[in-house]
Amino acid sequence: MGICTEMFLTFAKIGSFTLGGGYAMVQIMEKEVVDKKHWLDKEEFMDTLVVAQSTPGLFAIDMASHIGFKLRGVKGGIVGALAVALPSIISILLIAMFFQSFKNNIYVEKIFMGVRPCVVALILAPCFSMAKKAKLNKYNWWIPLVCALLIVALGVSPIWCILAAGVGGFIYGQLTK
């Protein structure tokens, strides 16, 4: 089996068995890529994590393309990224087709009436753990609040907040050098 086939199968497996998004994937990925296949050692894996966290794009896709790129260049990167995404695309497509014909079903609507408030809570909950990871302190606690206020109350696009934060951080860094 060529390394690209092996990589495709491994990442497709990682893509199919991780529920609930990117960060849940890390543990499984580490097990497969570091412990089983020895494609990276533990430190390289941690470095990859940092890069994936600090670049735009989906975390899991970033990880897969970086690891693929390290092993087999651009071709490896493409194989890795597509393999992680494929199970997700296929399963949602099936659900979308199914959902279009069932969403007006009274029982489905009842279930989702219960689920919707739960989802809002699930989105709010990681705010607090992320606040810790983002190293919020008495100097920067206003940043998330102002940003949320701009988006919700004034309808500012989140893209502007991201751009402003990037430029602001750069200028602040230059001034405090």
Partner: protein, 190 residues
Amino acid sequence: MIFLQLFYVFSKIGIFNFGGGYAMLSLIQDEVVNKYHWLTVKEFTDIVAVSQSTPGPIGINCATYTGYTAVIHAGFPVWAAVLGAVLASLSVIWLPFILMVSISRFLIKHGRSKVSNDIFGSLRPTIVGLLLAAALMLMSKENFGSPTESPFVFTLSVVIFLFAFVGTRLYKIHPILMILLCGLVGLMVY
């Protein structure tokens, strides 16, 4: 036209997404619900629930679902909708992929710099804000019911919300289990 729009919007969402799937939600919501009206607030919340309980990154899930639904709503047949779903999903990936490969190249050589630390130092708190905004904007009449028109639905929704928040934050109940539980409550009570 709809295909071009999907490509443009999801490429934009892909490149401006820092900090993982959840942070992406407010971007997706802004474009897909507020600007292009491809999905309603309800549909958007539903797809987040579905994404949580299906494999794969949440951003890809949202893109696939939105691509499919938007094309169907525009009056195209199913095969075109499948095409739209695949197009939207790949649009999210391609720009970050190119960037990631270039950065990998650079970082393998040079390591991290002070400038990148400065920029990410202020980006991280912003991402917390994006997440907060996504949650706030979903606290709507569509998702919770109205306190005057349907007080029962509203009250129960608030209870479910608090229960889910406390359950996942303090008692570390798995999100998928939480969604199933709340779905069951909805099915039995409403």
